[in-house]
């Protein structure tokens, strides 16, 4: 018996194709020959196949696909049989998935990358990490607040960076920078003065904000909205109460 490692490529081919091999491999060649010989028994076609072969009519039978590109053909035939709504949904899912993957890989050109990132962050819970270091940016925001508290606040509140439902801060990060008050001291008195001031659209993301700054932006936004609503209702109620009491 020859060692097992002597089954080289030529020997394997000879065995599989039925060509003569070394005498030491005769039992193996015989076994392969038995397998080959066992598959030579004639077989009768089914009644339907026999009938269709006799007539040459194979209409109504799902044709087998050519072996060249089965997957593409299969997809094409499936799309051909799908409803228009299913085609649209399938196309949208494919495009959105591809865009998300390309965006996650950072493969889009600069402007398109930022736009698609903001769109995906708006419509999904996915958030993309920017490369810039967050601590510097937190420092920048802190400087702006401390130097111009009255002028900077009205611009900030209505521009949430992350959509509703998104976690405001990444796990492990403090929600607020230490030592920073949640509501700036000068903010409440300003709100009644501007009750009708249009807020920035909630869905408009701010491109220049960075991940480390998102928690601050959301907190400010929530405070701004809440103060505005409470102030307006409270003033209205007080006015009515005073009028009734003074009349009689």
């Amino acid at each position: 018996m020859l060692p097992l490692h002597l089954l080289d490529e030529d020997t394997v081919e000879a065995l599989l194709t039925g060509r003569p091999v070394q005498p030491g491999l005769a039992p193996l060649a015989g076994a392969v020959g038995q397998i080959r010989a066992a598959s030579r028994q004639p077989v009768r076609p089914s009644d339907e196949l026999a009938r269709r072969m006799a007539s040459g009519d194979f209409t109504g039978i799902t044709p087998a696909l050519p072996a060249s590109e089965p997957a593409r053909r299969r997809l094409r035939s499936w799309l051909a049989g799908a409803s228009p709504r299913a085609r649209v949904v399938t196309g949208a899912v494919v495009v959105f998935t591809g865009l998300s993957a390309a965006t996650a890989a950072g493969a889009l050109p600069g402007g398109a990358q930022a736009r698609v990132e903001s769109f995906i962050e708006t419509v999904t819970p996915i958030s993309f990490q920017r490369d810039e270091p967050a601590p510097d940016l937190v420092e920048d925001v802190s400087d702006t607040r401390t130097t111009e508290p009255g002028t900077s606040r009205p611009d900030d509140p209505g521009k949430p960076v992350t959509p509703p439902g998104k976690p405001e801060t990444p796990p492990g990060k403090p929600e607020k920078p230490p030592g920073k008050p949640e509501t700036p001291p000068g903010k409440p008195p300003e709100k009644p003065d501007n009750p009708n001031k249009p807020e920035s659209p909630p869905g408009k993301p701010e491109k220049t904000e960075k991940p480390g700054n998102q928690g601050n932006g959301n907190g400010n936004s929530g405070n701004g909205n809440g103060n505005s609503g409470n102030s307006g209702n409270g003033n209205s109620g007080n006015g009515n109460g005073n009028g009734n009491g003074n009349g009689p």
Partner: protein, 169 residues
């Protein structure tokens, strides 16, 4: 002959079926198909219905037919995934086909020995070895049929023959 079959000539269908149906049935049977004869008829119904879209030589046609047979077999296995057992993967089933008459018939055809040989192969090895030996396909054709690389097919066939060698020597 392909042109005649595309034109609907019954003799051409008969000729193609006679040439290839025995080996296709043998491949399906040794792969453990539940009803190899019926599955063969399904394969040829699809092949003949798709013949107008086929362009190629006779070896390519043979490769295509076995590719379809392999796909139908995979489909059948998926459908039967909750069945208790598969014939060629279960030695008890291999050793005891249903009844004395059937066992005698298998012995007479030499199938029992062949089943035992095939049972020594893994599913992947058996798939490749049978397509090479029974289907008479090349390594490249087998790779396309089963969706593997040429290198993977070569490795599987080598390991399969090694397993067979251990069994017979």
């Amino acid at each position: 002959m392909f042109d005649a079959a595309r034109a609907g000539a019954p003799w051409a269908f008969e000729r193609l079926y006679t040439d290839l149906a025995p080996v296709v049935t043998g491949y399906l049977r040794l792969q453990g198909a539940a009803e190899p004869d019926d599955l063969t008829s399904e394969v040829f119904l699809g092949v003949f219905a798709g013949l107008p879209s086929f362009e190629g030589t006779e070896p390519q046609f043979r490769s295509w037919v076995f590719t379809i047979a392999h796909r139908r077999l995979v489909d059948e296995r998926r459908r039967a995934v909750r069945r208790p057992s598969e014939p060629t993967d279960d030695p008890a089933t291999l050793d005891g086909p249903g009844g004395d008459a059937e066992a005698e018939a298998l012995d007479a055809l030499g199938l029992r020995r062949v089943y035992e040989l095939c049972a020594t192969l893994s599913a992947e090895q058996r798939e490749v070895v049978l397509l090479r030996v029974v289907g008479d396909l090349t390594v490249e054709q087998v790779a396309r049929a089963v969706g593997r690389s040429v290198g993977a097919v070569k490795a599987l066939q080598r390991r399969g023959l090694t397993a067979l060698r251990k069994k017979v020597e």
